[in-house]
């Protein structure tokens, strides 16, 4: 992928402070005429050095640190960490705890997908859809709050199980919430597939074929929109998923619209799962004891975050502090595959392509760096898009 330095190379820097990005990011698109020749992002603004942080904290403190890798998918990180520690310690969390973990994981997927639907619409200038989807998201935030006491960072996980319980009153609140959300999501599915101004920005934009997605290792909804059969909940079920099977949702078009549709269909799947768990919640206690000192060993724990497969490599050295925790977040894979497929695409589609993969910077504060070329002249994100449009006219 070595890109020769052609004379009229435009490097477009955006950010780090930019109203479209709710988080700091700095994107550089090198362009040759109209076609993107090299796309790279320089993040690092959110790099807090957490992997090193875990090495100076005990396992229990590490759990709370790992929950704050990313605010939107905090439960998934904590669950992956807890599952890994239980595997190392040879402890099995009780079935009720596993089911509650899956329940909160699905509720978090609902809140994350609704959040993304609003932010992507806001990026495309469709503020009404942003307001409506975030208003409906408040129902799921309320449910999470009734169950775990906090709207974000619910810290439901404990090493060896869960520390919250679901009583009957909460169960019917959950069922009522799911019915309301299902009916609203049907409306959003109609809006996303029929509103022509929105389709103008999403239909066959940022297309990624099955082969491209497969070789580049695209995962999560971005990969599934190109037909990749990859969902950790289906391929290698963990926690409570073996007794609550998940249906794989895929599309084939691989463009931005397909990514919207895949995420919304996953919402329906999550509603079904939550209903099923609430009915068939197994009895039993909530947590098993995990020793302070974890025996020496290495393990890999893979979990399906709302944005794709989350990969934890954990190594313990027998003491009460971990030897090495490696976190590979889903957005890193999505970044890699999208930045590579962005090459060859039109410039005018860049903003929506980036918004389309639901980028979560704080998840992946470790992305490709900028290529500094003395000859480049600096254009803003928008002037690059403007350049694209002039070229088109």
């Amino acid at each position: 992928m070595t890109s020769p330095v052609s004379p009229e190379k435009f490097i477009v820097p955006i950010g780090p402070q930019h109203p479209a990005l709710k988080e700091p990011g700095h994107f550089e698109f090198t362009v040759d005429g109209e076609i993107v020749t090299n796309a790279s992002a320089r993040l690092g603004f959110v790099h807090r050095g957490m992997e090193k942080g875990t090495e100076s904290r005990t396992w229990v403190q590490g759990l709370y640190l790992m929950e704050r890798v990313c605010g939107i998918c905090s439960h998934v990180h904590a669950m992956a960490f807890a599952l890994g520690v239980e595997k190392l310690a040879g402890v099995q969390a009780p079935p009720r705890a596993q089911a509650i973990r899956v329940l909160i994981g699905e509720l978090e997927r609902i809140h994350s997908h609704l959040l993304w639907l609003g932010v992507a619409a806001h990026e495309g200038g469709f503020d009404t859809l942003f307001m409506f989807s975030w208003r409906d998201r408040e129902t799921v935030m309320e449910l999470l709050e009734t169950i775990s006491g906090n709207r974000v960072n619910y810290s439901a996980n404990v090493l060896g199980g869960v520390k919250i319980d679901i009583d009957d009153k909460q169960k019917d609140a959950l069922l009522k919430g799911m019915d309301f959300l299902e009916e609203r999501t049907r409306h959003y599915l109609k809006v996303v597939t029929e509103d022509e101004t929105f389709l103008g920005r999403t239909r066959n934009v940022g297309k990624m074929t099955y082969e491209e997605a497969d070789t580049l290792g695209a995962i999560g909804p971005t990969g599934r929109a190109s037909g990749i059969q990859r969902d950790v909940r289906v391929n290698s079920p963990y926690a409570g998923y073996p007794d609550f099977p998940v249906k794989l949702v895929t599309a084939t078009a691989g463009d931005l619209e397909a990514r919207f549709v895949v995420r919304i269909e996953e919402l329906f799947e999550s509603y079904r799962l939550v209903r099923e768990i609430v009915e068939k919640l197994p009895p039993g206690d909530l947590a098993a004891r995990v020793p302070r000192r974890i025996p020496e060993g290495e393990t890999i724990s893979r979990v399906e975050a709302p944005r794709g497969e989350l990969f934890y490599f954990m190594k313990s050295n027998g003491s009460d502090m971990p030897e090495r925790i490696k976190v590979r977040t889903p957005s890193l894979c999505n970044w890699a595959s999208v930045l590579v497929t962005a090459v060859g695409h039109k410039l005018a589609d860049m903003p929506m392509i980036l918004a389309g993969i639901d980028p979560c910077f704080s998840c992946n504060d470790r992305i490709v760096t900028v290529t500094d070329h003395a000859s480049s002249n600096q254009m803003s994100w928008e002037s690059l898009r403007q350049y694209g449009i002039e070229y088109y006219k």
């Binding site: 109203p19 495309g124 200038g125 503020d127 307001m131 903003p351 803003s380 928008e382 898009r385």
Partner: protein, 317 residues
């Protein structure tokens, strides 16, 4: 009601200066409140635009380096004065226009588009890339909606055979409303007004999520306040123009009020219904559909007015 006001009162207080600015602020409030209510939000309080305006006046004005200082300060003032002078020829609040001469329709329209020109210049004046792009977008959009908007307003002028806004307003009150006779003209005029004021879905030139604040990124304090006020005043004038042409003119203030508020309701609804169009889509929409529709309608009008006297004796006899 055709009481004529002494020139100074008209200019400074009643239909002209202060009252117009106050009604501009109030229209902005209604617009923001309607859009908020459409989005199921509570929306601002009634004095919000006034508070914004006074606060911006009290803020420190930063003049960025590498900017032509005189132009930077002058442009907002020119923009506001252009908008205010355009108000003289328009039958504001149901009263006869303060000053009118034949052909003042064209003068008013070009005074109104002076504002977008000033924003374009303001954007090009600074080195900040975001405002450079905002400026190019604003001017592209100016060229694309200006012609259809003018032609749409010409429809009633041709039928009534006069280019004087006051007379068109008077003529419109007599016959059936022009919205019935020329529906295409009304639609193109309304959407043209939204394009002129860069209201969403045509707010590409100041797309908050893409280019920060477009041409006005570098402005703060007084300059930004004057630009915002100029845009509000232009909203009032545009609504009165379309209401007087297409909704059968107005003779008394009450008539004026309910017609402009109706139009404001329609624009607020349109604002919250659509996603922001990319700049090439807006330009495409205007040149392909807007222009052709209006030209078609003009041909029909011209045929109608000139052929009618020949045909009527044959038919009516």
């Amino acid at each position: 009601m055709n009481i004529t006001f002494p020139i100074y009162v008209a200019l400074l207080f009643f239909p002209g200066g202060l009252f117009l600015m106050a009604s501009g602020l109030f229209t902005e409030y209604i617009d923001r409140k309607l859009v908020a209510r459409f989005q199921n939000r509570v929306g601002p309080r009634w004095f919000q635009p006034l508070a914004d305006f006074v606060k911006l006046l009290a803020k420190e004005e930063i003049i960025p380096t590498g900017v032509n200082k005189a132009l930077f300060v002058l442009l907002p003032i020119i923009a506001l004065t252009a908008a205010l002078t355009a108000a003289l020829y328009v039958p504001l609040f149901g009263f006869k226009p303060v000053y009118s001469f034949s052909g003042d329709l064209v003068v008013t329209l070009y005074l109104l588009s002076m504002m977008t020109l000033c924003i374009g210049l303001a954007g090009a004046n600074t080195e900040d890339r975001f405002s450079l792009v905002g400026a190019t977008r604003a001017l592209t959009q100016l060229f694309s909606y200006e012609a259809p908007f003018l032609l749409a307003l010409l429809g009633p002028a041709i039928v009534l055979g006069t280019w004087n806004i006051g007379e068109i307003n008077a003529g419109a009150t007599s016959g059936t409303w022009f919205i019935v006779l020329q529906p295409i003209g009304f639609i193109v005029a309304l959407i043209g007004l939204m394009g002129k004021l860069e209201l969403p879905p045509f707010d590409a030139p100041e797309a908050e999520t893409e280019i920060v604040a477009g041409a006005l990124t570098e402005y703060s304090g007084r300059g930004f306040a004057l630009f915002k006020l100029g845009r509000d005043v232009e909203l009032v004038i545009g609504l009165t123009l379309i209401a007087s042409f297409y909704l059968g003119g107005f003779t008394n203030p009450l008539d004026f009020l309910w017609k402009t508020l109706l139009l404001l309701f329609v624009t607020a609804a349109l604002q919250s219904l659509f996603a922001r169009l990319r700049i090439d889509q807006t330009v495409g929409l205007w040149w392909r559909s807007g222009m052709i529709l209006v030209l078609l309608q003009l041909v029909v009008i011209i045929l109608g007015t000139y052929l009618a006297p020949l045909v009527r004796p044959l038919l009516g006899g």
